[in-house]
């Protein structure tokens, strides 16, 4: 393998990893703060994809505006979901929260998929590209502008979240809730608000992914399944509920997949990934960055 091939593989891996990191961060946030094993995360990816499609194609809006609209709509969708489903579940729940919340997300996933099918049919709604341009990174290696912008969006969104969690009072409250709910309550944090905000943010991250990669994967009712599995793969590898781990893990898995695709071929790619997962869980069940301290951003 020459240097050029390696460069190509790494680049492909990083481009792919951006999406994984974006999706996984949302998943890690929701698990870390709310203790929900979120299996409907992919459906918010689809909401983002549909929103971007209609905004860009039907209403002819600028791609960036369309992606921003998709992010806002998936944020709202997440907030509404939390208020309608998880808020009452929290109220009436007596123990067994993890199981009940997981079952709720599994049901929600099926319900949303079928709602998409009912409203928009099974037709693929995609675009060939947002921007008609390619950018030459290395000699002989040109990348569609869409993919670079998607990576840029993923990195920007993750940096923004990082800043929000570290530097703002609300972000600090989110981290506090993830570490000690009772302590958070005793300093006057309104838990319900933090939960709604967290779920909305997580959904927004999924929606951003769906919207920015619309040219790669079109919007259709089941488009969320694949990204869901990948992001679960990432958070399982790095340790559930760790946002910082999810960022590193996203890129790690992206590069790993692009390498195994090259060396083993497409059919074996999933085998390689799942094999890695099994080996990892055998030797470090808490995940690569898993620790005893609970918290979304803490080591």
């Amino acid at each position: 393998m020459d240097l050029n091939t390696l460069q190509n593989l790494l680049l492909t891996g990083i481009l792919r990893g951006g999406l994984y990191a974006l999706m996984a961060v949302g998943l890690a946030l929701v698990f870390g703060v709310m203790n929900i094993c979120h299996f409907a995360h992919g459906e918010y990816y689809v909401i983002g994809a549909y929103a971007a499609y209609f905004a860009h194609v039907t209403f002819g809006l600028n791609p960036i505006v369309a992606i921003v609209i998709a992010a806002i709509l998936s944020f709202i969708a997440g907030a509404v979901t939390e208020k309608i489903f998880f808020f009452p579940l929290r109220r009436f729940n007596k123990g067994e929260w993890i199981m009940n919340a997981f079952l709720l997300t599994a049901g929600l996933s099926v319900a949303l998929q079928n709602t998409f099918k009912l409203v928009w049919g099974v037709r693929y709604r995609g675009i060939t590209q947002y921007w008609d341009a390619t950018i030459e990174i290395f000699p002989g290696m040109a990348i569609a502008a869409d993919r670079l912008v998607a990576l840029g969006i993923a990195i920007a969104a993750i940096l923004a979240l990082w800043f929000f969690l570290q530097k703002t009072s609300t972000g600090r409250a989110i981290r506090a809730v993830s570490q000690d709910e009772r302590g958070a309550m005793l300093v006057g944090i309104k838990l319900d608000r933090i939960y709604t905000l967290t779920f909305a943010l997580g959904s927004m991250f999924a929606g951003l992914g769906g919207a920015s990669l619309l040219s790669l994967t079109p919007a259709y009712p089941y488009a969320g399944v694949r990204p869901l599995i990948s992001s679960w793969f990432v958070v399982t590898i790095v340790g559930l509920g760790s946002v910082s781990g999810a960022i590193v893990g996203g890129f790690l898995v992206g590069v790993f997949e692009s390498l195994s695709y090259y060396f083993l071929g497409q059919g074996w790619q999933d085998v390689a990934s799942l094999g890695m997962l099994i080996v990892l869980l055998l030797f470090k069940p808490s995940g690569l960055f898993g620790t005893k301290v609970k918290g979304v951003l803490e080591k």
């Binding site: 600090r172 981290r175 009772r182 302590g183 958070a184 005793l186 006057g188 918290g295 803490e298 080591k299």
Partner: protein
């Protein structure tokens, strides 16, 4: 300031409080003492809103607060330092303190509270970036106290601050509480350490089996025959 009348509370099907009445006035240092399982912690939990009272009245700063949520009660000016402290262990000392002033939006006031706490516990000023989880037992109590003070509470409720600490550290914690009281902060303290507690508090209630069995000025209770026999080991 705080008036509790005939408070009943418990967990699931187990009732732990059978009509507790007590009151704390502005500037007082009130102690609630008794042996393990007497219901002291449950009393504080029910007052602070961590558990919902089954019956009875809790009036704080002229408002009826029985049954409203813990975060709301905190915003009315009550800080509750639990026995397991509930610190944010993966976060820095500074973050923990800032979270104590979460409801305060005025940056100047937050800064003033921070200076006030640094003044009380100078070691936190130099170690702001240290993670709370790496502090020693005594330092944790101090940090929890500091966090509780960041909101400038009217009433500070402290649950068993001496639990699991070395005697010298216990003394430090009690000294800190006394210093706070001298600064004009109203304190409701729960303790098993009867002797020391009666020496630093102004008024005390003695609990047994979910009820108040004895109350009075701390200095007088120290001379009380029943208390001497049951808790202070005198014959």
């Amino acid at each position: 300031m705080l008036d509790v009348t005939n408070l009943q509370a418990g967990y699931d099907c187990l009732q732990a409080l059978w009509g507790v009445s007590l009151s704390v006035s502005q500037g007082e240092f009130v102690a609630l003492i008794g042996s393990n399982g007497a219901g002291k912690t449950t009393t504080l939990r029910a007052i602070s809103g961590l558990i919902k009272p089954l019956a009875g009245q809790v009036t704080f700063m002229g408002r009826q607060i029985a049954g409203i949520s813990a975060d709301q009660i905190h915003r009315l000016g009550m800080s509750f330092i639990t026995e397991d402290l509930n610190l944010f262990e993966g976060m820095t000392i500074r973050d923990n303190l800032l979270l104590g002033a979460y409801s305060q939006k005025d940056k100047k006031k937050i800064k003033a509270s921070l200076d006030y706490v640094f003044d009380l516990f100078p070691l936190f000023e130099t170690r702001q970036k240290q993670l709370a989880g790496t502090l020693s037992g005594g330092e944790r109590r101090m940090l929890a106290l500091g966090r509780g003070l960041m909101s400038e509470p009217h009433l500070l409720m402290v649950d068993e601050p001496s639990l699991g600490l070395a005697p010298q550290t216990v003394k430090d914690v009690f000294d800190a509480l006394q210093a706070l009281h001298r600064k004009g902060i109203t304190i409701l303290l729960v303790e098993q350490n009867v002797n020391t507690t009666l020496h630093i508090s102004s008024k005390a209630y003695v609990m047994e089996k979910g009820e108040i069995v004895l109350q009075g000025a701390s200095a007088e209770l120290l001379e009380n025959a029943y208390l001497k026999e049951t808790y202070l080991g005198a014959r």
